[in-house]
Subunit: 411 residues, 2 copies
Amino acid sequence: MNIEIINTGSELLLGRVLNTHQQFLCRQLADAGYEVTRQVAIADTGEAIQEAVREAMTRSQLIIVTGGLGPTSDDITRDKIAELLDCELQEDPEVVEHVRSFFTRRNRPMPDRTRIQAMIPVGAEVIVNHHGTAPGLVIPAGESCLIMLPGPPRELRPMFSMQILPLIQDRFPFAGGFASVTLKSTGVGESLMEEMLEEPLSELRKEGLIVGFCARTGEVDIRLAATGEGSKELVARAERIAREIGTDHIYGSEDETLDQKIVELLTSQGKTLSLAESCTGGYIGHRITNISGASAVLMCGLVTYSDEAKQKLLGVSATTLEANGAVSEPVAREMAEGALRIGGTDFAISVTGIAGPTGGTEEKPVGTVYMGLATKTSTVVKHRINAFDRETFKFVTAQQILELLRQELIR
Amino acid sequence: MNIEIINTGSELLLGRVLNTHQQFLCRQLADAGYEVTRQVAIADTGEAIQEAVREAMTRSQLIIVTGGLGPTSDDITRDKIAELLDCELQEDPEVVEHVRSFFTRRNRPMPDRTRIQAMIPVGAEVIVNHHGTAPGLVIPAGESCLIMLPGPPRELRPMFSMQILPLIQDRFPFAGGFASVTLKSTGVGESLMEEMLEEPLSELRKEGLIVGFCARTGEVDIRLAATGEGSKELVARAERIAREIGTDHIYGSEDETLDQKIVELLTSQGKTLSLAESCTGGYIGHRITNISGASAVLMCGLVTYSDEAKQKLLGVSATTLEANGAVSEPVAREMAEGALRIGGTDFAISVTGIAGPTGGTEEKPVGTVYMGLATKTSTVVKHRINAFDRETFKFVTAQQILELLRQELIR
């Protein structure tokens, strides 16, 4: 089965916005066992839209078009596709009512031009938009099934997950089932992870297990999938093996993040955390506090960018700073111990390093970082060289120290 | 002129990664006056790559293919395109040397399979990769010019900006010139900004000025462009008008960020900053420290997530907390003043709010936030309701308080 996604919008081709629809839709479909064959982005001109749909109809059974269903003058997707498919447009009274009530609920007058969103191609199925005004549309296009989705992510995402995906699963069922799981790991490279799992999973591969790796800086995803009868059991067996072998590195599955794991582990153990950040500048605190529930476990974070702040806020001694420099093992140690003391917490982590692009020396090149983890009984400090651009440096460094904390929490 | 971008990589179609190449390349090209006509993402199979290139050759003068030039078994772009174009591959001794020296400099042995990256299609121009091993390639493809770029962003980006874009400008020059500028604004919605600029720019539009708006939560970009003779002057005139009218909201242009502006303004005025963050959890510190040079102006940040930390670290009084709650005008005020005192800085900003999704009340719904700005002479506190998801809440809140600081700095 071929699936094609067509993203319309001149802002995509001008590079003004990131195409997050692609990743969202591809991921949702892949997790349900459907692989997208091709994704296309085009400007919102009538010609480009019709050409892309016409081509897609020659090769894809399922075509998903995003954007251009709204009320403004550049929202022409619905019209142009209806024209291409030779369908008339008719006003749907239920959709008019939906649009009207959308404005009524917000105490705002309904602008006249929004009514155009109720013009539905004859033969199309209307998918109610619970988060906006433009409905989704499902329409036969030659031998293919064509789905139009509204462009705003907060409308598209829930509509796709809750309404469209079940409809796809209903119309394009798998003969013998499908199962997949994605395991998330950190602290080990892609090729090493591949090597570790190759032999142990080789038998299951012969039974039809599909193993895929996706590496990003600081993280490797392991995707285990299978189709057909017994796919669930096959994937479950593979997951058990992979988790056992990768136990030191696999921290979760699917959309779980390391930050989430940290907050979960601290919460379930009733433990608390303080942070002392220099070069990461608050980034670790930011990540932890992206997780709802962080307030119960994160006591405080001290962003001590200057030497003075390290002394004043964390009690790092002037002698230690002078003798070793701010980026050093002893300073990372005193920072972590200072944060533990000040926060009165069970754990404290510290980071001090040279994010670059300037500030490096021969002895301590850009990327040099010392990371401390203090508990009530001991402090460990790790030294790494993370020679990346500034933002990647922060990400990788945070991964490393959070993984060290996770290891401590699961011991 | 038609330009087509082909992104190869199964990880794109499985939704494992975001396609950041699309935005980067489209943006770079648009800023130089070239509009991408179509972007396609396909799996890294030989058939899909050849089909996409074959189609592109029928309609585009410039074809840019990303990914699949590396040493692993799924890196087949170079081979498959050479096959399609009926070109032989020959080992290029200079590229072999480049790959070898890449490993030598890192004190690592050169793996045998990396040598495959030196296999160059006969007739292709080699573009040296200054940040990795796989070279870029420029090759005639029928009537079109085809460019292959390595997949890793840290290799692709500098190669494109520094080496490929000048080459494109050389081969596809504009007859009568091109000019564009993108102004960045915050604190005002898209439609209001459009309204403000409509009348003042209407005369220039008649002369050929193209005005475009791109809104993201918390930011609106204004793009002014023109082609043909006199385009530079036309865009310059438009920019002057827009900056004058939008002066309260336009903080920069092109890729400038609000964070960058803050660091620049503080640096040039010799002023320093401290932060007191509750609900943003370190995010403001993270943004400021993403800017190289932040260490000279950011003294410290205090992430005081708990009431206890607010008292202990910032000196917020227990009475104030009890009487008003942590999310209140007086607490934001005491937090900012505490940070100013502790950091000994010229400015301090504070944030306290309810990021959600839980923790809201009728009186203080989710999204409620108080933001303080303390200077040596006074403190102002603003109240906002930013009812978004957690990460958007943080972003918008940071925009608002940083914009308040910017206004103070440019007064």
